[in-house]
Assembly symmetry: C2
């Protein structure tokens, strides 16, 4: 395990400015901006959005199952009857009725919470950004699964936190590796600010933290004095009957992030944080300085939706749709992907994490894939430390099963062509013996 | 002029954590949180929201003039026809059609802009927060009018920037005082990162930067290598025929912040930044890490509103309503306020800034005012440096003219009682000779 170097610190002495004269005022950026880089996925969206390309890259939920006519009537009625409130500033913490309903939603995963401890945010991304703002000084260490959510890595970079990855296997975060990281950091005098984890249906790894590992992970963090931030946007989108208790349901000190982006509608940007009381007041202040208050209108749309619609049935409809797509993807991977490829088998959520045969670079291969009319997210974007070059994320959330199958078929062709080139030039093409086709290890090169 | 001390810097050495063991993980906050304090206005909102209290404290626009039935139909139609887009993730920079329309809106104030340089944000508060994120390292100096918008001070504090106030008179920011501040800072080796200014219908001061001062302010900032951030939420809400050109219309390097909160509906939280190309890409990245993207839905509501409604007529209706309320407030101030009080005469926007007779402390008086069923925002909240104790902000945006008159009458009674106490105890009660009742100096104690 390596800790990234500390970020360059701004020189706060008043003498500083003398030397900076030639830089135009609009380019005298803060030191933290040096960590801001466009994600590979983002650069990719433009190319991959051409209709002839099957995009397995994005994480857009498929909203086809939404009853737009009913929603249209409800939302119109909301504007007519409650417009004076819905179109007005609201509380920085969020609409009280919605905060109570959010507690009902979280109860589905075993969480008992007080609406006073819920802070509504503009998507859970904002909650994550503000939690990082509250806790991370430049140079602070954050633990995160490797790979991890690209948007989290972006927020950590924006606050100049250093990310130390802990690897997963097919049962999620490996407690022994977490303990090793904690021990090693402690020996160097570093207490990470928190462990950032996506226990359920991981983005991008597609694996889920085994139930029996959850208490162990919490115990380890408690033992080493490290907080836990649980990001759970996909928790209700499980394909099997297995119930995964939220970490927050086992430990009230966990900071829990939730979202309606995947269970209702991402374009409303309504998410939340459930935090211990010691954190709440500061989080509300941070939220106030970030946006004054979240939009009353979108919150009241979600609140009315939860009140008037059978939202559990809607989640079930979404889940069925994603399960069908997941099946199509796994079947196509099994049919088309060449020897030496491995992938995870998600039990919920949106993603499959694929490891390519040794010597094939997913990022270098991407332009050729797009030429072959298939797009994916290459693995390095999901690591803060340059790992993941042999990996890629495939998402099955948006395209139809037929498109998914066709996309995987095209991807297989591109990988075959890469392997062919390697054979032609005498490069090692055989898979490493420990890599079995279809095995479920998310990132063997980080274990 | 004094520069506040540099913020305490986090110690980024890896040895640090050893001493921090006893603090629970959820309380190991970043250094920047020490600057986060609840605004006086915020603490006040809860008390002042009782119906018997006339609140002259808040800045809520009065939405009574909005045609809710029409909007209800339009928004319902939007969901039915374009719900698959409106309820889906969108671009981090904002909906393209809306960015083009925003350029039309800005053209009203003489700004020529390219939609590619517009970044839509969750209210202009988010734009302000992100601009501060992009430019301010801890300890950096920001120039701001004294007094200044409390939400700006909150964002500057969140990024540990130091605020140096420059005083205004009845014609807004005083160029000579700006020059003095720039010269003094330069002599100490400090180049402020930017001047944050609200040129039109200032919050809280109620004054407007004279047209003939605008180029001078821009020239001074250019001469000293200091950027300009122009915050203009009230620009279209002017009461007279005077046209104030936006600073951005005079200088393309100005970072311009705009909002639909006061010209359409605050509860949608749709604002924007217009920035030079060198800033744009970084701003989009920062926005992405803050919220991924602004809500597609609220942006499309605004876009459709601008397309289908006569939004200029709506702005005119709002303006008429605010002018009537402004007149009621000025008339009541003139009728009721005791000798020794002075106030500004706003030519637009929401606010009047009142200076109390010497020896009367607006913050200390507030609980007695609320007991007398009137609320205001005391002046110290609008300064980063503790000034403003004799000042208070009155807003006329929300209550009816009758309520405004009654509120000012109550306020006058509270001030009279304060003066009576001072006379009883032999404290100086007479106004200082330079303070004339009704004169238009926003903050004489800061000049």
């Amino acid at each position: 395990m390596t800790i990234p170097p500390s970020p360059q610190q701004p020189d706060v002495s008043v003498e500083r400015a003398a030397a900076a004269a030639p830089v135009p005022p609009t380019e005298r950026f803060a030191a933290r901006t040096s960590g801001m880089v466009a994600s590979e996925i983002r650069a990719l969206f433009a190319v991959a959005s051409r209709p002839e390309v099957v995009s397995l890259a994005g994480g857009m939920p498929n909203l086809a199952a939404l009853p737009l006519d009913e929603l249209s009537g409800e939302i119109g009625d909301l504007v007519a009857r409650e417009g004076q409130v819905a179109l007005q500033y609201g509380s920085a913490q969020g609409v009280p009725a919605l905060r109570a309903q959010i507690c009902d939603v979280m109860r589905e995963e075993g969480i008992e919470a007080d609406p006073n401890d819920v802070v509504v945010t503009v998507g859970s991304q904002m909650a994550l950004d503000l939690v990082t703002r509250l806790f991370c000084d430049p140079g602070d260490v954050v633990l995160a699964e490797g790979p991890s959510y690209v948007g989290a890595l972006g927020s950590f970079a924006a606050y100049q936190a250093r990310v130390v990855h802990v690897a997963m296997d097919e049962h999620g975060l490996v407690p022994e590796l977490l303990e090793e990281a904690l021990r090693s950091l402690t020996a160097r005098g570093v207490t990470p600010k928190f462990l950032y984890t996506i226990p359920n249906f991981h983005n991008p790894a597609g694996v889920t933290m085994a139930v029996e590992r959850r208490q162990r992970v919490l115990d380890l963090c408690a033992e080493y004095g490290v907080g836990v931030v649980e990001d759970n946007p996909y928790g209700l989108l499980g394909f099997s009957s297995t119930r995964y208790p939220a970490l927050r349901s086992l430990d009230r000190s966990v900071i829990y992030l939730g979202s309606f982006s995947k269970t209702f509608a991402s374009g409303l940007r309504v998410g939340w944080a459930l935090v211990p009381p010691a954190v709440r007041d500061r989080l509300v202040l941070a939220a106030e300085s970030a946006t004054l208050c979240p939009p009353s209108f979108t919150q009241m749309v979600v609140s009315r939706y939860l009140e008037k619609h059978d939202w559990r049935a809607q989640v079930k409809a979404y889940t069925e749709q994603y399960r069908e797509r997941r099946d199509a993807m796994l079947s196509a991977l099994d049919t088309y992907l060449p020897e030496g490829c491995t992938w995870t088998v998600p039990d919920g959520g949106f993603y499959v994490w694929v490891t390519l045969p040794e010597g094939v670079d997913a990022k270098a291969m991407l332009p050729r894939a797009v030429t072959a009319r298939v797009a994916y997210a290459s693995g390095t974007g999901f690591y803060a430390d340059g790992l993941g070059s042999r990996q890629l994320r495939l998402s099955y959330c948006y395209p139809t099963p037929e498109r998914i199958t066709e996309g995987v078929r095209r991807l297989a062709g591109v990988i075959e062509a890469e392997l062919e080139v390697r054979r032609t030039f005498g490069l090692p093409a055989a898979p490493a013996p420990e890599l079995r086709r279809g095995s479920h290890t998310p990132s063997p090169d980080t274990a």
